[in-house]
């Protein structure tokens, strides 16, 4: 008996009870659809978090001064004061011979200030830095210009401000470029406006003002010849680790210490990304596992219905055996029926999963993964074989005289 004939006979059996067959298919459909949609939701939320982290700038290594509380030379006492991040460090890091993978190093002098414009005020984080900071941290200009080298050297009282400050200080329609706002004791001219940037959670990335670090030291923090942080940007996202190593080497030699005793803390954004990635993978696997349970339940549905079918058609099995059907023919007939049910459920489930993934679910745009489709479909077929085998084997093992006598 050819496989095609087998399928034809099985389809005839399934058509004999359309409602029951469709309900069984529905069980698998829901399982496969749920796996695809939930895995897509997991992927979607992972993609959302990753794009937020990428907005931080994944090509960057943040060097933070740990002062006396960090590891390294601080413990020896005499050297503790020398562990600072200076303009000289920036110059060394931007030297392409010493640090070929470093694109830029931006100093950060930060202060929390309240900004005023006529009677309005808004609290912001002022970041004293250089022109490279904007690109390194993933900001882009909406209007006006970036900080320039001459702003830095001239200690210019200029600022590039974020959207939150604009909405806090200015009435809609006012062009903020050229306006003067008060921060600290000085008045600063707005030269650029940053485009709105996605928030990474607790801090408002738009409540910022970027100023030359020289003028920020003059007006806001006081001159200390050291920076709070350095933002080192690598040339490529896959060079971040190399850039980090170069930064460590340069800073270690500048501070006359070893890499292991470096008095700074280095935070690699890409390592943050991979941490969040693994967290999200766990989350996705968990969602997929929950959905897989419903697929399993669908499989039990197939087994249940096939057991009923085999019992109902005992007489037919008897007739087939009497006219000489070998055990294998009966086995494959009922196994084929089970697999057809799971196959139809799998196909319909993939369709439902793909359609369902077009909608936003709990605020997350699902991202369909090709492997989840293939896996869910393959598992559905495997479930058909697995759960169909017992009923089919039961049918095949019936004794013909008992089966023929069955009423």
């Amino acid at each position: 008996m050819s496989p095609l004939e087998n399928i034809r006979i099985s389809l005839r059996g399934l058509r004999g009870n359309k409602l029951r067959s469709s309900l069984t298919v529905l069980g698998i459909l829901i399982g496969v659809g749920a796996v695809i949609i939930l895995v897509a939701v997991g992927n979607g939320s992972s993609a959302a978090v990753q794009s937020q982290i990428k907005a931080l700038g994944t090509n960057t290594v943040t060097v933070m001064s740990t002062g006396r509380f960090g590891r390294g030379p601080a413990t020896t006492g005499t050297q503790s004061q020398s562990a600072t991040l200076t303009a000289a460090d920036v110059k060394l890091l931007e030297d392409p011979d010493q640090a070929p993978d470093v694109l830029s190093a931006s100093p950060v002098v930060s202060a929390s200030e309240s900004a005023t414009y006529s009677s309005a005020t808004g609290s912001i984080t002022v970041t004293g830095t250089t022109s490279t900071y904007m690109a390194a941290e993933g900001y882009s200009l909406e209007a006006g210009r970036n900080l320039t080298t001459s702003d830095i050297s001239n200690h210019a009282l200029v600022a590039v401000v974020g959207q939150t400050l604009i909405s806090d200080l200015f009435t809609t329609g006012t062009n903020p470029i050229g306006q003067q706002i008060g921060m600290g004791s000085a008045r600063w001219t707005i030269v650029g406006v940053l485009a709105s940037k996605g928030s990474t959670g607790t801090t408002d990335e738009n409540a910022v003002a970027l100023t030359p670090y020289t003028s920020a030291e003059d007006q806001l923090t006081g001159y200390t010849a050291s920076f709070n942080e350095l933002i080192v940007e690598s040339k490529n996202s896959h060079d971040v680790d190399a850039a980090e190593a170069e930064t460590e080497t340069i800073l270690a030699s500048a501070n006359k210490t070893t890499v292991a005793d470096l008095p700074f803390r280095l935070l690699n954004e890409s390592s943050l990304l991979s941490t969040s990635q693994s967290t999200n993978e766990t989350f996705t696997v968990l969602l997929g596992a929950v959905a897989a349970i419903s697929l399993l339940v669908g499989g039990i549905g197939i087994m249940n219905i096939m057991l009923v079918t085999v019992t109902e058609r005992t007489r037919e099995i008897g007739i087939r055996k009497a006219i000489g059907a070998p055990k294998s023919a009966i086995l494959s007939q009922f196994l084929t029926e089970a697999v057809i049910l799971s196959f139809l459920g799998g196909v319909a489930g993939v369709a439902v999963g793909l359609i369902g993934s077009h909608f936003k679910i709990v605020g997350i745009k699902p991202v369909v993964s090709g492997t989840s489709i293939i896996e869910a479909f393959a598992v559905a077929i495997a479930i058909g074989v697995f759960f169909g085998f017992y009923p089919a084997n039961r049918a095949a093992s019936m004794r013909p005289i008992d089966a023929l006598r069955y009423e």
């Binding site: 007489r315 009497a322 006219i323 000489g324 059907a325 070998p326 013909p400 005289i401 023929l404």
Partner: protein, 265 residues
């Protein structure tokens, strides 16, 4: 329409077993067949040592009351069941000790069944029903279709071969079942109360088909409890309490002996 002279290769008797290959070898040869069933605590003696020989081209009725053992006889003759003791040579092959898979092949190739309740596969056209045993035998679709159509023409169902069983009358269903039984060209056509569910007219139709098949040289064994049906046959065997009490072909050969007596051949 002649039956194959050489037994199917798969069904050749085990080496050393006696295979009678003479042209006159019997289709059925039962030797002291005993079949008992354990029903709860009771041991039921369904067949108590039956010996019987049916030659090629015979038309035999096996008669008996219910409980006489004729259903058991039918199951054993049809390779649906195996005896506890004794030997059954079907077309020269000892089938009394075959396993389930080989028995299935024997049923498929050597026996054509006709049942009391027609037993066509539901939701399957008459034509597909007739094709089915050939499909299990691995006959090619084209050849199968040709033979199935010929068999249906032969029983007078040529115009209704695409009907489903529930669209056919009882007599038509039984004729389709006969077509299914003869399509594989079996050594033996075995009918179990073939007219039990039919009216007189349909019974006559079906019985005349059997008579015609027999005239063409086919061996037909049917089981019945109706004398009118048995009258179509050329030989009548009566069973009672698991023993043959009368055989019209040889009235003196196997007289009824009281329980406990032994058979002598």
């Amino acid at each position: 329409m002649s039956a194959p002279e050489v037994p199917d290769a798969h069904l050749s008797a085990p080496q050393g077993a006696l295979v009678d290959r003479s042209p006159t070898r019997p289709v059925i040869q039962l030797e002291r067949i005993v079949r008992t069933y354990q029903m709860g605590d009771v041991l039921v003696h369904a067949l108590r040592g039956v010996s019987l020989r049916v030659d090629r081209g015979e038309f035999v009725a096996i008669m008996g009351q219910s409980g006489s053992g004729k259903s058991t006889m039918m199951n054993i003759l049809g390779c649906l069941d195996v005896p506890n003791r004794g030997r059954y040579l079907l077309d020269g092959v000892d089938v009394s000790k075959l396993d389930e898979a080989t028995l299935a092949r024997a049923r498929n190739r050597k026996i054509g069944f006709v049942f009391q309740s027609f037993n066509l596969i539901p939701r399957t056209s008459a034509l597909s029903n007739v094709e089915l045993p050939m499909a299990y035998a691995g006959v090619r679709p084209r050849e199968r279709l040709k033979r199935a159509k010929a068999a249906l023409e032969m029983v007078g169902l040529g115009s209704r071969m695409h009907h489903m069983p529930n669209e056919l009358s009882g007599g038509q269903q039984q004729r389709a079942a006969v077509a299914r039984a003869i399509a594989t060209n079996p050594s033996l056509i075995l009918a179990d109360e073939p007219t039990g569910n039919l009216d007189t007219q349909s019974s006559d139709d079906v019985m005349s088909i059997f008579s015609r098949l027999n005239e063409q040289g086919r061996t037909v064994v049917l089981i019945t409890h109706e004398q009118e049906i048995a009258d179509y046959c050329r030989r009548t065997i009566r069973l009672r309490d698991g023993r043959i009490i009368h055989d019209s072909a040889d009235p003196e050969a196997q007289p009824y002996t009281p329980a406990g007596a032994r058979w002598t051949t």
